[in-house]
């Protein structure tokens, strides 16, 4: 069976005063129906931009999608006209963002923002839409939902707004939910509420999820597969257990080693990654991680490696060398 979403070699750039920012440099990924893919990376790694490109939500200009294909159920989203894209965004793919306040319209009630989508995409009449909106708010766990339909976004707390945004993303029963750092702005107890909510919805509706985050902890408990991104490239991809147990790319190893753990009894020195992420305008010619890499060889500075399988077909790294998690070259 072909994957639900099949992204092939997508490249996205932004033209700025300082030059062309090469935000996404040939990202390929796929998501099967019902599966959860985690995308991990630091700020500027291209994780959000790659997904915004998939949704064709890149402001053009200054951005432009240079090349690539986004096959959703076999149909290339990048070749559709605006109306057809809008239809798919509204009914098949839901998206949740980090900051609900920039997404929600401050002068429309929460209820109206949900019913608008329902009327537009599902052709419901006003009272049906309102009834469905109420169901949705209850589904995402907003207490006394009937009393909150006529509230404005500013009357909601941060966690409640995030729930409302999830309700809007779910309103047309999407088969794919793209969540872009939906819990980053939230407190940890509220974050736990949202994660449990998405897990429950995923179980109940069978939707696939792409969860973008910088937090390797969240991904560990949520994803089936993980893509690690650096400087606009996917540098490692593996099933979640495999990635954490046996990271093979020096960057992934560095990230995992640099995290203090909640369950660590003894204090050890954290393995920090030296240096800083690269300038996306002047990316190095070779591997973008080479300037910070402890295992670099001459070839790394000259040629940029592409993803290749290292352990089964599922576990791939973009690295000339193969560093086991013990730090020895294999």
């Amino acid at each position: 069976m072909p994957p639900l979403l099949d992204v092939r070699d997508i490249r996205t750039e932004f033209v700025t005063h300082d030059g062309v920012v090469r935000a996404v440099n040939g990202v390929s990924l796929h998501v099967d129906a019902g599966e959860t893919l985690g995308i991990v990376g630091e700020s500027g790694s291209g994780k959000s931009v790659s997904m915004l490109s998939v949704m064709r939500l890149i402001p053009q200009p200054p951005g432009r999608i240079v090349s690539g294909q986004v096959l959703f159920r076999g149909e290339d989203l990048l070749s559709l006209d605006d109306e057809a894209t809008r239809r798919i965004r509204g009914t098949q793919i839901g998206m949740v963002f980090q900051d609900p306040m920039t997404f929600l319209n401050p002068v429309l009630t929460i209820g109206r923002q949900i019913t608008e989508t329902l009327e537009e995409h599902l052709g419901l009449d006003k009272s049906q839409a309102r009834e469905r909106a109420l169901e949705l708010l209850e589904l995402v766990g907003i207490p006394v939902a009937h009393g909150r339909l006529d509230d404005y976004p500013h009357q909601f707390s941060g966690g409640m707004r995030q729930r409302a945004m999830i309700a809007m993303a779910l309103c047309c029963n999407p088969s794919l939910l793209i969540a872009d750092e939906p819990t980053t702005a939230l407190d940890v107890t509220i974050q736990a509420q949202i994660i449990e909510l998405v897990k429950r919805l995923r179980r109940d509706t069978g939707m696939a999820v792409i969860w973008i985050t910088h937090d390797l902890g969240i991904i560990a408990g949520l994803a089936d597969r993980v893509n690690v991104m650096y400087a606009g490239y996917v540098v490692e991809t593996a099933r979640v257990e495999e990635l954490y147990a046996n990271p093979r790319h020096p960057y992934t190893q560095g990230l995992l080693g640099s995290l203090p753990r909640l369950d660590a009894r003894e204090r050890r020195e954290l393995a920090s990654i030296g240096g800083v992420p690269p300038d996306m305008v002047n990316l190095p010619a070779g591997c973008p991680f080479a300037p910070r890499c402890a295992y670099g060889v001459d070839r790394c500075a000259e040629e940029n490696p592409t993803l290749r399988p290292v352990a089964g077909d599922d576990h791939r790294i973009a690295c000339w060398r193969d560093i086991s998690s013990k730090g020895k070259a294999l």
């Binding site: 409640m160 509420q193 910088h214 954490y244």
Partner: protein, 339 residues
């Protein structure tokens, strides 16, 4: 157990206490009306906290946004004039100080701020940012200032040659190093670190944490480390205090707190933190709290956690629980723990 409600006061003798905080309160007035502004209430950001910070230790202060942890940190070093309560630093009551005497004390207590972009003056070079406290506090004679600035830069792992550059030329992690160098410039014994790594990328966070740990060991510093990331706090702290809605609900040694949390809020908070280990994550049971934190302008009567507590009993809605030592220097404020 100590004392009877409602006065929590852990006045335990601590001969090695560098900082002693007793029943500290910090209220911010809410006013209405532009011309004849009337005082209609208070945001009780910090509402009666007591703790000591021992010489050479790191006291972690954790809690969610709005719990009052930053306000507490600022009130401790008198960046705010507290509403009430007492802060003693090296045996001296900070409340009674003003002017030159307070400035003298400020040399001993410094702060590292959360936002490395907002806390450095964009119009000053790094050299003049670091020289300013040296001049104000007359730390070194003027002909040695330049040398001292270069030394400070190398202590925090930056090239001394950066002194002539401006803040915008630096990354977030480098700026945070500059903030640390500025705090160190006056040779303090106590530093309040207010979320020093929250604005940084994951791979840079570890660099700053390692630097803070190294500096503490080399210079014998005492830290009050304020953060919301519980894994980071466990890593860096000696003891940890958990705040909720203006109060400390639990305080214990780092391993004691994480392995044997007593307060239901601490238990929920710890269970909510994801651990980067898929095998472990599937086994964990999560205590998911319902609802949101109430407003600090109008905290609920009784225990402040009663609106979200999964194990509350009737007494929790009526009386505030005392903050007491439950043995082994493990303090908590919960009626369920009072035998």
């Amino acid at each position: 157990m100590t004392g009877s409600p409602p006065q929590p006061r852990p006045g335990y003798p601590d001969s090695d206490a560098l900082v002693r905080v007793e029943d500290l309160r910090m209220y911010f007035p809410i006013t209405r009306g532009l011309i004849l502004s009337r005082h209609i209430g208070d945001i009780k950001a910090v509402d009666g906290v007591s703790f000591v910070i021992r010489r050479g230790e790191t006291l972690g202060l954790v809690g969610e946004s709005g719990c009052g942890k930053t306000t507490a940190g600022r009130a401790v070093i008198r960046l705010y004039q507290p509403t009430s309560g007492k802060v003693t630093f090296e045996g001296q009551d900070l409340g009674g100080l003003s002017g030159a005497a307070l400035r003298q004390m400020r040399r001993r207590m410094q702060m590292i701020f959360q936002d490395p972009y907002a806390s450095l003056n964009p119009r000053m070079t790094i050299g003049s940012i670091l020289a300013e406290p040296l001049v104000v506090h007359r730390v070194v004679p003027s002909q040695q200032i330049r040398e001292r600035v270069e030394e400070l830069l190398s202590v925090v792992g930056l090239n001394p040659y950066f002194a002539s550059r401006y803040p915008h030329e630096f990354s977030g992690g480098q700026r945070q190093r500059i903030g640390i160098a500025r705090a160190l410039s006056v040779e303090p014994s106590f530093i309040v670190c207010d979320e020093p790594i929250s604005a940084l990328d994951v791979s840079i966070q570890a660099q700053i944490i390692n630097l803070l740990v190294k500096l503490q060991a080399e210079l014998g510093l005492t830290y009050l480390f304020i953060a919301h990331d519980l894994a980071v706090v466990r890593h860096i702290s000696t003891r940890i205090a958990v705040m909720y809605l203006g109060k400390i609900v639990e305080l214990a040694d780092r391993n004691q707190l994480y392995e044997n949390p007593l307060h239901p809020y601490t238990q929920a908070l710890l269970s909510a933190v994801p651990i980067p280990d898929p095998a472990l994550e599937v086994q964990r049971t999560r205590i998911v709290l319902t609802g949101d934190v109430p407003s600090p302008a109008n905290p609920p009567p009784g225990c402040r956690f009663n609106t979200r507590c999964p194990v509350a009993v009737p007494q929790c809605y009526q009386e505030e629980p005392p903050f007491g030592d439950l043995g082994q220097d493990h303090w908590a404020a919960c009626w369920r723990l009072v035998s």
